[in-house]
Symmetry: C2
């Protein structure tokens, strides 16, 4: 945090404050810290894993569970290597790189503007090699030998397994076009320069939907899904000033794509994509049909025709969206008494802890723990009995806990507890037996 937090109250959030909160409270930190870290890999701590799980659960609920026309999938990270030949990744998924012969640093050939000066030459200019192709997929070997025949790849995107399994999933689920297949899972890219905290990392999680439509309905479904996905991000709490849609220019589109748009969030480091919505056409299914020698086209019984479905894809970066939630939520507020407080204004359903139970004294642990046990049946509830109550409230504010329940010495007599709301700091005195209903009504809109 800044030396003078009061000076930060109301100002835009800075990346260093987000990173500092994440380390201090254990949301996210470098993988293998005790070994000095490993560039581009991150671990989610106790609060981070709850936040990320809540985000994934909400996506799964909206995209899969609440719909009749989307099926879930959980495929292996390593799939048959021909998959990546068909998808074009083996041939094309890479960057052009140049090395400096003097300082040995490596750069993307298309990102040479504004690079730091060479540290090995007095005039600071780099002695660059010609560009070389570098594949971004992580390679491994499956089987007993390390030769070309055993090469496999860690998936660079989760969607290719959806195309591999399209026919099987369609048959077992008895779905007809239009319908979609969705999955959440890890993907890997050997980024040259991982940067911006978890934003550009080498191991990351995607939540992807591939929605298969009739060629005549591409435009309609592209627009439908783009609107749906914007609605999802609005539901996460991203306002007009923080979220925008950037349609791709014609020259940005892949040769097979008819339309694409990025959903961008305004991070402290600028507007950046957190989700992509793409019309992938029939590129993937056609290529897999060809490479696998299996016809993946479908028969439309109403129209009496056979066709290759077109694919509308929505692809969320889960880590990027989790980071956007932290950047969007973090704020420093000036209080009336001249002090400040740090608040993480997360949507209550996404908060790592939904409710904290705070007995005013350790002597009140027993009845407070009874309330805790009741709340834990439904939510992630946290118990803290040490330190002064104001300080305990602040610790919960800072990690986004929407409700704190305080059991005090009066509670024994009047059978009531104090429920404090994070944002308004309003305190309601309510019946002990009504706490669950009170929280449920505010979290889910019903008692």
């Amino acid at each position: 945090m800044a030396a003078d937090p009061a000076a930060r109250a109301g100002a835009d959030v800075r990346m260093e404050d987000v990173v500092s909160l994440c380390a201090r409270r254990g949301f996210v930190f470098q993988s293998s810290e005790i070994y000095g870290g490993i560039n581009g890999f991150w671990d989610y701590g106790p609060l981070g894993v709850e936040l990320k799980n809540n985000l994934k659960a909400l996506w799964w609920r909206r995209v899969v569970r609440e719909r009749d026309d989307v099926e879930g999938l959980d495929s292996s990270i390593i799939c048959h290597p021909r998959t990546w030949e068909a998808s074009g990744h083996v041939e094309h998924f890479g960057d052009q790189l140049v090395d400096c012969r003097a300082c040995k640093r490596r750069f993307r050939a298309d990102q040479l503007d504004g690079i730091e000066p060479c540290e090995a030459r007095e005039d600071g200019t780099h002695d660059l090699t010609a560009p070389r192709a570098f594949n971004l997929m992580l390679k491994t070997f499956v089987g007993a030998s390390e030769d070309a025949a055993s090469v496999a790849w860690l998936r660079a995107e989760t969607c290719q397994a959806i195309f591999n399994d399209f026919k099987r999933v369609r048959e077992v689920s008895r779905q007809k076009i239009p319908f979609g297949i969705a999955q959440i899972g890890k993907a890997f890219r050997n980024e040259i320069n991982p940067r911006n905290f978890t934003f550009r990392s080498r191991e990351f999680e995607q939540a992807e939907l591939e929605f298969f439509v009739h060629p005549g309905e591409r435009q309609r479904w592209f627009e439908y899904w783009l609107a749906e996905r914007v609605r999802f991000h609005r539901e996460l709490g991203f306002g007009e000033d923080k979220l925008r849609v950037r349609p791709h220019e014609p020259q940005e589109l892949a040769h097979y794509a008819k339309a694409a748009a990025d959903i961008e969030f305004k991070f402290p480091f600028g507007w950046q994509e957190i989700e992509g919505v793409h019309d992938r056409g029939d590129w993937d299914l056609s290529r897999h049909s060809e490479f696998a020698g299996r016809d993946l086209s479908v028969t439309d019984e109403e129209r009496g025709e056979r066709f290759m479905p077109m694919v509308i894809e929505t692809s969320v970066g889960v880590d990027r969206t989790a980071l956007a939630l932290l950047c969007n939520g973090l704020r420093v507020e000036a209080l009336e008494n001249g002090e400040t407080r740090t608040v993480l204004g997360l949507d209550p359903r996404l908060a790592p802890i939904q409710v904290a139970v705070l007995p005013l004294s350790k002597k009140l642990a027993e009845p407070a723990r009874r309330i805790l046990a009741d709340l834990r049946r439904e939510w992630n509830a946290f118990y803290d009995e040490s330190g002064n109550i104001g300080r305990r409230y602040r610790r919960q504010d800072e990690v986004g806990t929407p409700f704190c329940v305080t059991y005090d010495f009066d509670s024994e007599q009047d059978g009531k507890v104090t429920v404090r709301e994070r944002d308004s700091m309003r305190q309601d005195r309510i019946e002990t037996g009504s706490v669950a209903a009170y929280v449920r009504e505010r979290l889910e809109g019903k008692p």
Copy 2:
């Protein structure tokens, strides 16, 4: 299924029936099927992913959310390669392998008894090489070159990241010994002979808890966690005849381990481990202290001493347990009318679909869909309006759906629907507005 299902009624489940159900209804099938599959890798289809997610959610709830003394974690699959030197995996995690020079097949040197005859020599004997060490970790390269300096490994177990992050998690969560860190995630082992469907695969999911205790309390906590974990598997529905604890013999223990026990399930292919409970001593934290040059010991303020915590580990194979659920649940029943039905007797909370809504006619879709929308707020609800109702019940029985709600032509008049229970096939006629409460009471023990 067998040619004569009636002959199978009441008999022990056969592996081929489980595999057949999984393929037919899309629980689990080979990864990259259209490319002929890839040995040791599996994809979970629409029903399989729900089953697995429900299992993971129950574990997380029991092990993490309901406890004050366990913190969650979600670490990267690739961590600093020194981690695997410290853990001993780079040096020791492998099998001794032999090759047959004639038929080119490869075998584990310790599993030569009963192997199939050589196909290349007339007398059927293999022409075996001397045993060679083979590391089971999957190797990859992180960074721009493929040299020794860039070698990294896909984690062979999720627990090593817990040891890496032990200090950070303890500090941010303000936990004191005894406490634990838990995580669910993928791990990889380059098995020579993947087999028994998903049981022994190359990519698999673990749910691991590492519980850190004072050296004087190892025995007590080992016994505590072994009992807790058996209780968990009983809760999944594994009876006395299907689940047993097999303590390791002294000669089976790793040199640093004081005690270990396998929790075994009786699969159609025999008794096999689905979870291990291990006293790992201070091996891991001591090794990481040494290799990272960071003291991971803790101070016990009450006792006034500094010590290295001992680790009690509980390690569930998530895929194995999901497979055990399928094997445990699948049964063929003879009905009074001489027919049979296939039932997947899953615990209702774990079933992929909690409730199916089945209008008796497509004409009743609108009111049936209103009930569906209400049920979907809480559960995974499935809608099916086609085919005769008996057939639709059978399709739900076979995938373990505990409740079917049928909306019929009388429902319009009397405001009631029929709820059919999977196991008893009992049908209750209840108020349309009470369906959610009815299901909730049976799933969660409260209305």
